[in-house]
């Protein structure tokens, strides 16, 4: 079957851990070019949803279609990344002993197998692209800085930059502003909107100010399925949402 137009289509996805349903018949549709915010209380299944999309966790039931055709539940992590789905993890993981430049270089689309990487010289186009990305993710002038020396916020941006370097069609971003200052949070919202001009984005976040700033459609997850969907105003007014999440 093909779902007209949708970039990502989750249908009735269920994931069980030792009898506990982390995802419970979850369905979700993301349109091309869309940015979607996912909110929900701790343990709602947000990270698990990303795990299923990226092939890290297998779904017990249901389908996950990318661009209407490819069923992601049948592919492994590398194949899914290859299709154009990039992911930023909840905990920032950059290569601490590499410079900002090298982190981006390793993430850049390019050779991945042994012999080509052994002999591949640094091409001018690559250098150029890395400069551009550093510009976008607010790390200009830090090319030689060792990633381990960056501030927490800068590491998050570097990781977003590494995602950009892979040039994905869909970017999954898990709690990008956790632990950031207000200024960094605002800058991150702007950064994601900028990125959204050229690709689709799914953002998981607890920070309501940040979600408000993104100003996009919101899905509320609760106990492994979607409780409500719509603008932030719309879902905040939903009594069920207030009960499980906002009202606490």
């Amino acid at each position: 079957m093909s779902l007209t137009g949708a970039l990502l289509y989750l249908n009735d996805v269920t994931v069980t851990f030792d009898g506990f349903r982390a995802l419970n018949g979850l369905s979700l549709v993301i349109e091309p070019g869309e940015m979607r915010a996912i909110i929900g209380p701790n343990g709602a299944g947000k990270t698990t949803m990303m795990d299923v999309i990226t092939g890290k966790t297998r779904a017990d039931r249901g389908e996950v279609l990318f661009e209407g055709a490819r069923d992601l539940t049948r592919l492994d992590e590398a194949e899914i990344a290859e299709l154009g789905i990039g992911r930023k993890f909840q905990r920032p993981t950059v290569f601490d002993h590499h410079s900002v430049f090298d982190n981006l270089l390793l993430a850049l689309k390019g050779p991945r197998s042994v012999w080509p990487t052994l002999l591949a010289p640094l091409r001018g186009a690559e250098r150029q692209r890395i400069r551009e990305i550093m510009e976008i993710v607010r790390l200009r002038g830090l090319a030689a800085e060792i990633a381990g020396n960056l501030s927490h916020g800068q590491k998050q941006w570097l990781e977003i930059g590494m995602l950009l370097a892979q040039d994905p069609k869909l970017m999954l971003v898990d709690e990008p502003v956790a632990g950031m200052t207000d200024a960094e949070t605002a800058a991150t919202a702007e950064l994601l909107r900028e990125i959204n001009r050229t690709r689709s984005v799914i953002v998981v976040e607890h920070d309501m100010a940040f979600v408000r700033e993104l100003d996009v459609k919101v899905s509320v997850l609760h106990e492994g399925s979607v409780l409500a969907e719509g603008s932030l105003e719309h879902v905040s007014a939903d009594p069920r949402v207030i009960e499980v999440y906002l009202g606490r």
Binding site: E77, A78, A81, E82, R87, T93, V94, F95, D96, H97, H98, S99, F101, D102, L105, L106, A107, P111, R112, S113, V114, T117, L118, L119, A120, P121, L122, A144, E145, I146, N149, M162, Q166
Partner: protein
Amino acid sequence: MIARFFLAGFDRRVALALIAVLAIGTVVPLLNLMLPASHVLHVPDYMVALIGKYLTFALLALSVDLVWGYCGILSLGHGAFFALGGYAMGMHLMREIGPRGVYGHPVLPDFMVFLNWKELPWYWHGFDQFWFAALMVVLAPGLLAFALGWFAFRSRVTGVYLSIITQAMTFALMLAFFRNDMGFGGNNGLTDFKDLLGFNLQAATTRAGLLAASSLALALGLLLASAIVGSRLGKVLVALRDAEGRARFLGYPVERYKLFVFTISAAMAGVAGALYVPQVGIINPGEFSPANSIEAVIWVALGGRGTLVGPLIGAGLVNYLKTYLTAAMPDAWLFALGGLFILVTLALPRGVLGLFDRDARRPRTAAVDPIPKAAE
């Protein structure tokens, strides 16, 4: 393109080390051969043998650093690759003896005659040719490392489990080589070598030549290692060392990278062993002893893991100390080694070279977190 490849990883530290290694390889032989024994600067023969031996240990240390320092594979079995290279060379040297053995058999080495063997086992064929032996010096350890790595890395064996497997490998090989019917001379090993490529192994000129060859091999090894480390592949190695899952996620086939560097490194250790054997005049199963592999790791930790140059210094320092102490106070050596290791882990977590490398922002530094992470 070749030149660019080799120059990519070049920095001042590597250049200095290269010059030092090559200087040792030329100056020591000259001072030994050209000056009369009475001269103050004369290097005595035993020193030539000693320094030549240290150079091969330095090459072994370099090979360990390549896998452990840059790829996070804590191999506790590199002594086995060293010994295999040594045996391949030893087999050639045995065949070179020809009819000059004690029993005067035209083909069979003495120990085979002694064991009443009638003909040469199949795996001894070809070793009469130097080129064949030289090939085996690289191939035998390389293929073993490839086979072991193939299974271990594909089944995602990492950390201490991998270290234990490599220890088990060298231990198993030691037991096997102790057996007479393996055909490698049993516990006596291979010895009584006469000459190599027509040069008498007892001659001072040959000894000096072997030292020079060892220094050249070490220099080439350092050049190759720095090129690998400085290439994009080298960056991938450090990346997978620090965050394997992340590297995998970026699309790098992590297992192949490990296999590549593990195999190259094993071949390098084999070359070191091949140069070691003619200089010490014997190879026996004791070289497979698990303690040897552990000692090589200590040299690397002492000198500075993940620095390429540090391990060379570590190998030199520890072995100098060992030579000195085992003569002065034979019982004290192991305690000294253990104490040194503890001291360095606590006081010099980044090794001797860490002392000179205060600038942690240096982009090319792949130096590692203070405590060696065996399991991560």
